[in-house]
């Protein structure tokens, strides 16, 4: 069965190469049979990669430890759940997952575009197959997941205990969906450059792919943060670790792209800029995949030293070089006939948001790469820690938050200064009042105070946007409040879905601000029965307990938590010893409320049950996860397929056309 896996990989490699060539040839010579054959190659590659993936899953389930990958990432005692997720625990499996997703997405693109974008498709397919070819070369020649050990070991090495967390099931696949998903708009952008069809059809064709990839990448990052928070046990969720940064950079540039394409759709402007952004986004996706695997940078998640680094770097250089060269040759055709109507318009606020997002991505890139660059130039590895990133990115984040609040108040094209003032007055006064209130209840930390006030400002502007829309709708249609709300969202999905996504981001900001500016931390060594106080909570150390099961020994401390004399909960932080890995891991205990999280770590203990605890009070953390859910809701609304009859009702179409003709403009 596993031999079939490798055979399928080899065949998929051949098909990817074949598909790339015949699609490009067929498109250039306008030969239908060739492009059709190229399309079939995509489907066949998908089928073969599915077969290869099934073979790897089979190897895991049948505990075939002669396969080196299965040996390295699973063991007989590993539960089924994590055995399946071991598929993407290491480099080889995750590369296979990349390839499978890419083939699957390419096939979906073909199915989606059977009748549209026929000019772009063959070129886009050719490019997608070139990317697939790169991954197939890695899988077949450099990083074969089916490679075998000389003999068959009795048991595997098991999965790293840190990866035995529900986060493991969702975080990596979600990131991969984002990384791979951005390949689609990238391929279409290059196809548009190659064909010279530089109108916005490539953007329309890939709008939902962009949104989907942006969402999955963002949620992947958030899930990773949550995983770090509950599993890594250092009290936080984000450490500006190089691999975290690697996923954040494409997300930032992707966010810029997501906004600026709207201007091209509406105004036929920023064509070159959009091309640059999507090329950079995809380049950063590949770069992120490279950073994780190169061994260049040490990090909690990197796969250690590996041989694929140079390949990624070469591929990346080739991709970026070719893309920008192509873009350069088309510059003349990409000039926009339009201009901004006004400085005070939503377009210009989008532009500002673009510069800031790209600037943020660049600062993260700089901070991530600085140790490497400094080592290359001066021979000394200067590490760049969270202080640098925070210093740069906190003001950037706050500015973005401000724009998020201002943007909905400004109309597209042209905002009138007077209406602008009128629209601003209420949110400004309301958030000013809240700011004073916050300061008077003792919120002192400047950034914290400012960010909270801004969060409130944005919530108010989004809220008024909804209320005004509902009011306008009720005036024209006479609908009730709830009905007006739903039909308003239904008829302007992208607009209101976007507002809801912004609301989710504000909630995440709220969580970040609360937990970084107002975190309380305390370390205490206690005997059973002793207590420690932290921010109004009393922790009483009750006892130390031990237990063990088939693959681990657990030592658990019992802490009773009191507030104002009454017990509110019991927390049980643990230390675990997994036998296969022979290393202790920390299992934190978290008690979450909407206001704050209590977070307890069992640092160590001795024979006499003397235990050392690290306790945190992390305000508002839960709002980050709630924000993720709100973003999910907003994205779903924006991405939901519009109900489209096969053919738009003729009567509707003719009326709106003739209405226009009847208007006084007809000369």
């Amino acid at each position: 069965m596993t031999e079939i896996g490798y055979v399928s990989l080899v065949l998929a490699l051949v098909l990817a190469a074949y598909g790339a060539i015949v699609s490009a040839y067929g498109a250039a010579e306008r030969k239908r049979r060739f492009t059709a054959s190229g399309e079939n190659a995509v489907y066949a590659a998908w089928a073969l990669l599915s077969l290869a993936s099934l073979a790897l899953i089979y190897a895991f389930l049948s505990r075939d430890f002669q396969i080196e990958y299965v040996y390295s990432y699973s063991s007989r005692t590993l539960p089924l759940f994590y055995t399946l997720s071991s598929f993407w625990a290491g480099q080889k499996g995750s590369l296979l997952m990349w390839a499978w997703l890419l083939a699957a997405f390419s096939s979906l693109v073909l199915i989606q575009n059977r009748r549209q974008n026929r000019e772009l498709i063959p070129y886009a397919i050719s490019l997608l197959m070139i990317v697939l070819l790169f991954f197939m070369v890695l899988l077949v020649f450099v990083s074969n997941p089916f490679s075998r050990l000389p003999s068959r070991p009795q048991d595997g090495q098991g999965l790293n205990p840190l990866l035995q967390n529900p986060g493991m099931i969702f975080h990596p696949p979600s990131l991969f969906l984002g990384y791979v998903g951005f390949t689609i708009p990238f391929a279409f952008a290059l196809a548009a450059l190659l064909t010279g069809r530089l109108d916005d059809s490539w953007i329309r064709a890939t709008r939902k792919w962009t949104l989907f990839s942006w969402y999955t990448l963002g949620i992947g990052i958030l899930l990773g943060a949550q995983w770090a928070y509950v599993e890594l046990g250092w009290g936080g969720y984000w450490a500006w670790d190089p691999v975290e940064n690697a996923s954040l950079m494409p997300w930032l540039v992707g966010t810029a792209y997501l906004h600026s394409v709207m201007i091209q759709e509406k105004r036929d402007m920023l064509k070159v800029w959009n091309m640059v952004l999507i090329i950079l986004t995809f380049g950063l996706c590949i770069f992120g995949t490279f950073l994780t695997r190169s061994g260049l940078i040490s990090s909690v998640h990197s796969f250690g030293e590996s041989t694929v680094g140079p390949f990624f770097l070469g591929f990346l250089a080739l991709l970026l070089g070719a893309s920008f060269l192509l873009l350069f040759t088309r510059l003349g055709q990409l000039r926009s006939p339009h201009q901004l109507d006004s400085v005070l318009s939503r377009e210009s606020s989008f532009l500002l948001n673009n510069w800031i997002l790209v600037g943020a991505a660049f600062s993260v890139l700089w901070g991530t790469m600085f140790p490497v660059i400094s080592e290359a130039i001066k021979g000394v590895k200067i590490s760049v820690g969270p202080p640098f990133f925070n210093q740069v990115n906190v003001p950037i984040g706050i500015t973005l938050l401000l724009i998020t609040g201002i943007c909905p108040l400004i109309s597209w094209r042209k905002a009138s200064a007077r209406n602008f003032q009128k629209n601003f007055l209420f949110p400004l006064l309301a958030s000013g009042a809240v700011g004073i209130l916050l300061a008077s209840v003792g919120i002192r930390h400047f950034y914290g105070w400012f960010a909270f006030t801004l969060c409130f400002f944005v919530i108010v502007t989004i809220g008024t946007e909804f209320l005004r829309g509902i009011r306008a709708r009720r005036q024209t249609t006479g609908e009730g409040f709830a009905r007006a709300l739903f039909s308003m969202i239904g008829k302007n999905r992208r607009r209101y879905g976007g507002h809801i996504v912004h609301l989710g981001l504000v909630l995440i900001f709220l969580g970040i601000t609360g937990s970084s500016a107002y975190k309380v931390e305390k370390e205490a060594t206690l005997r059973p029965g002793q207590t420690v106080q932290i921010a109004g909570y009393t922790f009483k150390y009750e006892a130390l307990e031990g237990s063990s099961d088939a693959h681990k020994d657990v030592v658990r401390a019992r802490l009773s938590v009191y507030r104002d004399g009454t017990q509110i909960t019991q927390m049980k932080p643990e230390k675990r010893f997994y036998r296969v890995q022979e290393q202790p891991t920390t299992e934190v205990a978290i008690y979450s409320t909407l206001k704050e999280d209590l977070y307890a770590i069992l640092e160590g203990y001795d024979q006499k049950d003397l235990a050392t605890f690290k306790l945190f009070l992390n305000p508002l953390v839960v709002w980050m996860w709630i924000g993720g859910l709100v973003i999910t809701l907003g994205t779903t609304i924006a991405i939901w397929p519009e109900w489209k009859p096969r053919r738009k009702s003729l009567i509707y179409r003719e009326t709106s056309d003739s209405e226009l003709r009847d208007s006084k403009l007809v000369t």
Partner: protein, 163 residues
């Protein structure tokens, strides 16, 4: 025992490899002898927006006009700005409409298209016109006006026609 297993396994792998390779080759090669597939990809005139591109540009202009209207209603655009901008975008939409008419117009008359749509709807509901008219009264229950077989509302008073 072990050796026998190995050679059997090898043969099986070989067989599966050939089978997979052959089916992939067949599937990929199929378009080359498939009948009814056109040889040439029809050439779209270079530098000219196609019909669907024109339609989507038209839709975009309509959407813009609607959005301007909404922004105006919500008080984000002043009256003068609204008038100016919406006139500009109406002119844009009109230009696109004219282009559509000039290049693709005259293919079918409106009446022909409407007739086709009605026939299509009938076909979908699998109702022949005769059966349908026989099924229900042909006068409005409210005002007594005569109804057409396909009517869902009375043409005179707007009363819903009971099915």
């Amino acid at each position: 025992m072990r050796g026998g297993n190995d050679s059997f396994g090898f043969l099986m792998t070989l067989f599966m490899t050939i089978l997979l390779a052959a089916s992939a080759a067949f599937f990929v090669g199929f378009p080359f002898w498939q009948k009814g597939l056109e040889e040439e990809i029809p050439q779209a005139p270079p530098g000219e927006a196609g019909f669907s591109a024109l339609l989507s540009r038209k839709e975009e202009a309509y959407r813009t006009i609607k959005e301007l209207e909404l922004d105006h209603q919500m008080g984000k655009l002043s009256d003068e700005d609204y008038r100016e901008l919406s006139q500009r975008y109406k002119a844009v939409a009109l230009g696109i409409l004219k282009e559509i008419d000039q290049r693709y117009g005259g293919v079918k008359t409106i009446e022909e298209e409407i007739e086709e749509e009605i026939l299509e709807l009938r076909r979908r509901r699998r109702l022949a016109p005769k059966e349908k008219s026989a099924e229900r009264s042909s006068f409005c229950t409210q005002c007594g006006a005569q109804l057409q077989p396909a009517d869902r509302f009375c043409g005179r008073c707007g009363q819903r026609v009971e099915q």
